[in-house]
Symmetry: C2
Subunit: 425 residues, 2 copies
């Protein structure tokens, strides 16, 4: 008997009817002869409502108490889903993160999982019970309740699957991540209506797509799945017959095209620190300062020193949400680096193409730049990784760039079989 | 430094403003130089909302999952109250029942507390922190979440105070139970507007009043307080300057009047099983059957065998909420006892007078019966304990009986100092 770990997000559990629907999706997998462990998030708007309550009391509630508060959301979900499964005549039992023994670091609000105790979990599973686990939460060895931060429930699900897999290789068939999206598309179908849903994608590609804002799966969970080789399936809880997209190791895929997907991220802001005197250590000082204030920096470019006045421009992008924090430390930056000016540009979009097949196919970057040039779209910044190329363009050009690149890299259109091979299931 | 345990019910925590008010009540006690442990219930209608959600999913949700669900209510309260105390500049920390180590039996939905581990609690207290504990909930030694049933949060508060008192006699000053009532009245002030608030009442009297439906404090918590001699104060969270009513050992009171209070309970139904053949064991069979179906019986009267046909009438009262359950087993009762008929009378009220002073004052019962006779009120059943006399009357006579008895036993009227002696505080 193999174990399927299922994860259902808040949208899938938004109300009583949806919870009953999830119960059906769980029982469906059990009926196929699998052992089933289910990880759930808080119902629909529960999290938002709890945050609102907290903020009516305090502008800066303590992380510990926020974890205490937020972890109730998943606890409500597990109890209700378990009841709904009982109604269908199946044995099920709910467990909080603490009860499972999802041991985390002693950091509140964004703890990392240190270990998972599978004893009680497997005891229930071996007893024929479907186990419903509260995602997003864990417990420190002192018994403090912690939460895992963004993407936490995905991480819980994958970590449980990974731990079971490590302890008993081959025992876990898959980790299915159910949400309101039907899988991973070559690009955003709202922008390019002819975007295709991928049958398969590699962990590496998924990671790059997640980081560039495809917003489907948090990178932490993909990293864990990759590390422990847990196959994941991204699928819709509202279309159970649809197999969604399988995320697996690149070595298990047959790669047909160099570019698997395209993502457009409009949530970044470009900052240019102009005319920074060209002294060693200036860049280091700047990024240390940004790190101190927990400002995540994405693309970074430092221009060559200009011969005329011996200064550099340092450009980088930050998340739009961090902009007000950045503005509040602008003076500190100025006093340290002494630039001529600090320029902030909100009118940008980052277009990224991703594909594990890029690695051994030269010329992909060139054809991306040519495509944009042909469309007369100016590239403001470029950054690359082994399987990703990102270009910063003006926001007004985002749609045009997306469409042109989809055409160049055949990400739209006809139902070409992108991936061959047999799918498990 | 002595410890004050405070308990706040759901009405006191109904919304954000009320939670802030409770934070003030907590800090007020801390400012007086006390160590403070606070036990809280779920916010206002949280419990009802959670029950409603569960019943939308299942008509008979499992007790275990109900406990999992319900315990989130108090967890939300502790986090929010702790935040509110932080806002006032005081150190505070929230703890679930499991985190404190409120060990219970392995029964769901109405577990009894087996033990309380005070280590972590005292660690925080000794650290100068105000500890906010989730009431109503505990944990089994297997780590299962349990709830304590009705009056659970009162029980949690008193049990914590009792355990601390046992471990370190004299360490606990008082257990203050805050609610929306201002204390214990001689009788219901909505019925008798001149009812007086008692400054003191004994555990025993409080127990009798609680059992006859005074609805202020659950008997379990009073029993625990009595057993471990924890003084309790019943007071209003909306009138902090009001000292409410102190519940203490009878030996610490100066008793002035034989009757301390009067309660009128309209939530009972009288059942008469008519003409049961007078054979040994019939009453035993009946009450075993009622016990098997968990029907709590209150007053019981078995008439003398009638000479004519050698049968008995057996009359008893049950809770109105149990009536439908009783009706469903009526046929079973008939088949076992073979009575001529089973008569159900919903039109009754139970009037009880309570007073520790009754013990050595004869004639109280007589003067109760005389008072009712003078008002031409028929007594349908009588039951007595050492410190309580209850009479069943027709519901239409309840108010008249209450008023007349208040006059007889001086429970209304002028602000007579009922109790002498110095109040602690």
């Amino acid at each position: 008997m193999t174990i399927i770990v299922q994860k259902f997000g808040g949208t899938s559990l938004a109300d009583v009817e949806k919870i009953k629907n999830v119960a059906n999706a769980v029982v469906r997998e059990k009926k196929l002869g699998n052992d089933v462990i289910v990880v759930v998030s808080a119902m629909g708007h529960t999290t938002d409502n709890l945050i609102k309550l907290a903020h009516e009391i305090s502008d800066h509630p303590s992380d510990r108490e926020m974890d205490m508060l937020m972890s109730t959301g998943e606890q409500i979900s597990i109890a209700l889903l378990t009841m709904a499964i009982h109604e269908l005549g199946y044995n099920a039992v709910s467990m909080t993160g603490a009860q499972v023994g999802i041991l985390t670091e002693e950091t509140h609000s964004k703890a990392r999982i240190v270990d998972i105790n599978t004893n009680k979990l497997l005891e229930h599973v071996n007893n024929g019970e479907i186990v419903i686990v509260a995602g997003f939460q864990g417990v420190t060895k002192e018994g403090e309740i912690t939460t895992l931060g963004r993407g936490g429930s995905d991480t819980s699900a994958v970590a449980i699957a990974a731990k079971l897999q490590v302890e008993n290789p081959g025992s876990v068939e898959r980790c299915d991540i159910y949400s309101d999206v039907e899988g991973i598309y070559t690009t955003d179908p709202r922008v390019v209506p002819t975007a295709r849903k991928l049958k398969e994608i590699s962990y590496e590609e998924m990671l790059e797509l997640a980081r560039v804002g495809a917003n489907v799966l948090h990178p932490r969970s993909v990293e864990t799945a990759k590390q422990f080789q847990v196959p994941m399936r991204l699928r819709s809880s509202f279309k159970l017959e649809d197999l969604g997209t399988l995320v697996i190791g690149v070595e298990k895929m047959e790669i047909y095209k160099p570019v698997t997907g395209l993502a457009c991220d409009k949530s970044q802001v470009r900052v240019v620190i102009c005319d920074v005197p060209d002294r060693p250590g200036n860049a280091g000082k700047l990024f240390s300062l940004l790190a101190k204030y927990e400002l995540s920096v994405d693309m970074i470019i430092q221009s060559y020193a200009r011969s005329s006045n011996n200064t550099n421009d340092i450009a980088f992008t930050i998340d739009k949400d961090d902009l007000s924090k950045f503005v509040s430390i602008k003076d500190e930056i100025t006093s340290i680096l002494n630039p001529s000016t600090v320029h902030i540009d909100e009118d940008i979009a980052k277009i990224s193409i991703v594909g594990a097949g890029m690695i051994d196919r030269p010329g992909i970057a060139a054809s991306m730049f040519e495509t944009l040039a042909k469309e007369a779209i100016n590239i403001k910044m470029i950054s690359t990784s082994e399987i990703k190329i990102s270009c910063l363009v003006e926001k007004m050009h985002a749609k045009q760039a997306t469409e042109a690149l989809c055409k160049t890299f055949e990400l739209d259109g006809q139902d070409v079989a992108l991936v061959h091979g047999t799918l498990p299931e």
